[in-house]
Symmetry: C3
Amino acid sequence: MAELHLHPDRFLPTDPATRAIARQLLDAVEASPIISPHGHTDPRWFARDEPFEDAVSLLLWPDHYVLRMLYSRGIGLGELGLKAADAGPVETDRRKIWRLFAANYFLFRGTPSRIWLDHAFATVFGLEVSLDAQNADHYFDLINARLATPQFRPRALFEAFNIDALATTEGALDPLDHHSQIRDSGWKGRVITTFRPDDVVDPDREDFARNLDLLADLTGGETDTFEGYLAAIAQRRLYFREVGGATATDHGHPSARTADLDPGERRRLFDRVRKGGGKAEDAELFRAQMLTEMAAMSVEDGMVMQLHPGSYRNHNPWLFKHYGRDRGADIPRRVGFVEELKPLLDRFGNSSALKLILFTLDESAYARELAPLAGHYPALTLGPAWWFHDSAEGMMRYRRQTTETAGFYNTAGFNDDTRAFLSIPARHNLARRMDCAYLAELVASHRLSPSEAMETAIDLTYRLPKAAYRL
Amino acid sequence: MAELHLHPDRFLPTDPATRAIARQLLDAVEASPIISPHGHTDPRWFARDEPFEDAVSLLLWPDHYVLRMLYSRGIGLGELGLKAADAGPVETDRRKIWRLFAANYFLFRGTPSRIWLDHAFATVFGLEVSLDAQNADHYFDLINARLATPQFRPRALFEAFNIDALATTEGALDPLDHHSQIRDSGWKGRVITTFRPDDVVDPDREDFARNLDLLADLTGGETDTFEGYLAAIAQRRLYFREVGGATATDHGHPSARTADLDPGERRRLFDRVRKGGGKAEDAELFRAQMLTEMAAMSVEDGMVMQLHPGSYRNHNPWLFKHYGRDRGADIPRRVGFVEELKPLLDRFGNSSALKLILFTLDESAYARELAPLAGHYPALTLGPAWWFHDSAEGMMRYRRQTTETAGFYNTAGFNDDTRAFLSIPARHNLARRMDCAYLAELVASHRLSPSEAMETAIDLTYRLPKAAYRL
Amino acid sequence: MAELHLHPDRFLPTDPATRAIARQLLDAVEASPIISPHGHTDPRWFARDEPFEDAVSLLLWPDHYVLRMLYSRGIGLGELGLKAADAGPVETDRRKIWRLFAANYFLFRGTPSRIWLDHAFATVFGLEVSLDAQNADHYFDLINARLATPQFRPRALFEAFNIDALATTEGALDPLDHHSQIRDSGWKGRVITTFRPDDVVDPDREDFARNLDLLADLTGGETDTFEGYLAAIAQRRLYFREVGGATATDHGHPSARTADLDPGERRRLFDRVRKGGGKAEDAELFRAQMLTEMAAMSVEDGMVMQLHPGSYRNHNPWLFKHYGRDRGADIPRRVGFVEELKPLLDRFGNSSALKLILFTLDESAYARELAPLAGHYPALTLGPAWWFHDSAEGMMRYRRQTTETAGFYNTAGFNDDTRAFLSIPARHNLARRMDCAYLAELVASHRLSPSEAMETAIDLTYRLPKAAYRL
């Protein structure tokens, strides 16, 4: 059996002198508290603080990176225990599911999933051998036994992970009951929400009309006029701030397109999408206009705005029909920012009151569009390497392609953006290592002094994410 | 005169400790047999086993990489001995042509052509000085003398190169006489064909109508209805498998667009392109539909499907008119896969019975589209770095940009895709070196254990290409 | 206070053996004369040879890289002393402006601006501490004192910088008075102009019609017919060659689109744009046609043609309205070359008489389009990494992504493209270092011999730019 050992110099540069510099930088930031300003963990965990069920439901099922890789190699989601209408037999023996995963763990060689999982196995569960078919049962039994103990409850892990602040993400209609419960519980962990209004902003959703009715009910207002609709959204934003501690909004749009129509056009566009059955391009235009409306609200209420464009959601209709969202079938595509953001920037780009954090799945935009935009407009900040690019190579490409034009100080520090709670320390640890690796290269090639690199490493780890999210 | 020396550590990482790891990996795979599942060597060579003519006709004329570089620096193709109607004088003195090439060999510094040629010069011909104007005659005489000996005949070289299987590529109408001859000869070398139906699938070709008539004649069927046409193609696929040992098809389309029209639309579209003179977009739509038809046939007959999109063929009309195809004037352009492949994937993407190997000339698609697609759909596999990117830097970019999302096991190993027979060992050697270099970096930065890297190196070299092509 | 020390090995590879190779190469080229064939320094400086005013007006105001970074972090251009109509208060105390810059100098960590400025501070002014808030006054006083001395006048610096030839850029209507004055002065410094006809070629400019009237006046011809217009332009090209010593033209177009309309269409298109108020797409088509016309003239008169496409100029309308051009609000966007250049290349691509140097802000085109085009067409040469990519990482990406397909000898050597005179030695020094770093990697990985690398380093530094610009 192979040893599971997290080498203290993992991911650092291979050149010994450069590695030594990186090591010094890392020593200063590795133990820093975690700021997690954007993610998708379940607030119910921290509200109820019940034990996690078992290894499969905690580590496999919520992790679309794991599901997608296994699925790509011909392993059916039913074999992994996921239930579906009309999609064949479902494995219910959790141990068998874990064994299947273990036997295929080699597929993750060279991927961030492997890095994150090994980190959790070693640091959270104290495992000392590398997962494979032979030790699958040892893993399964040990993990399940640990999860049943008090030190492995959500709040205990939150504290053990040294998390300063953790943001979850909720839709505009969410009552935020879990966040209320957390606040009322007297527990000191800072779990805040993020306002994600896609459900009431995207006319392409089947439930759009119903959601607007619910929005009216929830706010005691009306959503049959554009003015009423905007007022209802503004009210929900206030609710998210007051009840959920939100400091940010998040917008997951197919493209980065924005619009700034004149008042009459806005109203007519709203009327068409409110009723349904308008022109084909109405939905895209409405989403575009709504980004500008959200920016306007952010200028007023101070909420940081995040834009996550460019994912083709649910690309696989068969999988979507049988297994639903977030199973690994979201595929990135080309995204443009220069023309697309212009209407919004024409109105608010010169305002320091707006803080718009941009993400991309299209890395070709880093050096060409995003760094030049963020290196000019006061309103813009670059979010970190996102999703598929939240990886050793991905983070290095991000720094190499953005720093020379945007600098370090137009970036937002790290986001883990995960629903896999146990991967949070691993992801932040990797981000710190890659930042230190990059900074060490700058020092070793005499582009930055050691003391500047040290200050920058601390800024990237702690000061910048706090400032970017107004935490 | 400069020494020609293939350093045993060439292309490996420069950091000494990382290089030592790469060296160990390479020792395990460098001498492995060559699997060459996609290429363009001439089957006549292996059927007839006649001596190659001389250095110029073997090493220069079939190599569009060499022609394009010389041409780009103002050297006319006539000066290189290529004949053309109305394009000026043609040099017929082969020695003079070779001298011209030798005097300009410095142009290839830093290019893969230089790597491939030096490898052939040193390992095939035993040359010990680096080619330049001074030793041009020495090269010319020595190469020509060797080519006249039995050890330099095609089959002897095939065996000396340790080739396990070599695939050529033939059009749908090819009688496969050379392949029959090879099989009947009793020679043990495995030379198989690949079914490339572009000539009967692409309505933009001037000979499309004539090719469909020939297809009807050849199969004894008819190609005036869509059903008859598809049946005729299926029959040719069977012929290619039975007579030529084909396990794969290959499709060289301008884009990756696919379509899945309803039966009536398909028939009407076929009727229009069969007659000619339909709508402007018919040709693209027909090619798109035919990719889906080919996938359907692959699901039936088990042939692996390869898609090579994104080359603007014959970009230079003057050159095409005078010198024809494959002279170095094919230029890559942007390719999208996400929307384009969706119709085909909607039908067959979840099927492990389909094996569709994707290539690209647009590297921006690696991390953005191809790795995410291959890391989700069971039907998809990533082909290796292709054409212009079949190079030291190109292969390293490929691994860096695909591994973290697709892993190693959704990739197909290496293809040489060459018509330059003598470059085959060089190309595979380089691919092995770059894979070992990449794996060594993962080991040196503690992302992979040495034993995992070793197993992966062997898989990439041998097991994956055999599996990907069902060899 | 931190020491300001330009380490002799800065920017070279971190691996010690590779660094030693790079060092040897650099020793051979670091002191070579500077060829600066494309830039935007002010010819008035060399004509009048008056002292530069002070640190702020010399180092901050003309440097849009510096302005954009400060602006992006919320520092108003008024705070930096830039005047604007209706844009709030303007700081007039130069010392206060310098202090503001110094206090924010940390923003430039990791950027080329930092590299260029530190180089000028150390080598031009002899400063020995790194700029920060504490030593702002020391910097300000020392720089201003030096600028008042004869050794810091423009011509003295030009000579101290060891500049062989420096090209400025002037619009088609410029009288070239400063160039005449330089020539008449008897000073030996070679300052030449470049013909940049955008003002008389781009119908989207508000002053287009007026410029054509001026062009008629200036040439004594007429610009109301296409023939007269072309003749007037040809005459200005002659004037630029004879009076300004120009060897090149430069074209800053939104896209790389070219056209080759038939004579009747050309005339009708000209008539429409001459009168104004034609079709919306006329301007783009006219610019496209004019690139081909310029190529035709270049074939006749031997002027090297430069194409700089893909910048969205003045993306920020508020900033443009108040502060005008070149304040850091030009944003790159996607550029295609394959279809776009085809009409021009169909006419002139096979001609060695045309020399068209291509630049890009869209690095995804390097390996996909530009290197393949330049590695085939005799008329094409690749310009260096441009603008935002004129940086350590940017230049390394350029070599890595272009060399394998285009080789070194289809590239033009380095351009500084700057209006920041004091940054010229820094930029050339950095380019030499990055080329030597890249070549050293090739040597260390046994892809190139040491003597070939040495010859190539010298070619890239001196021979190639001289040849590319026919200097």
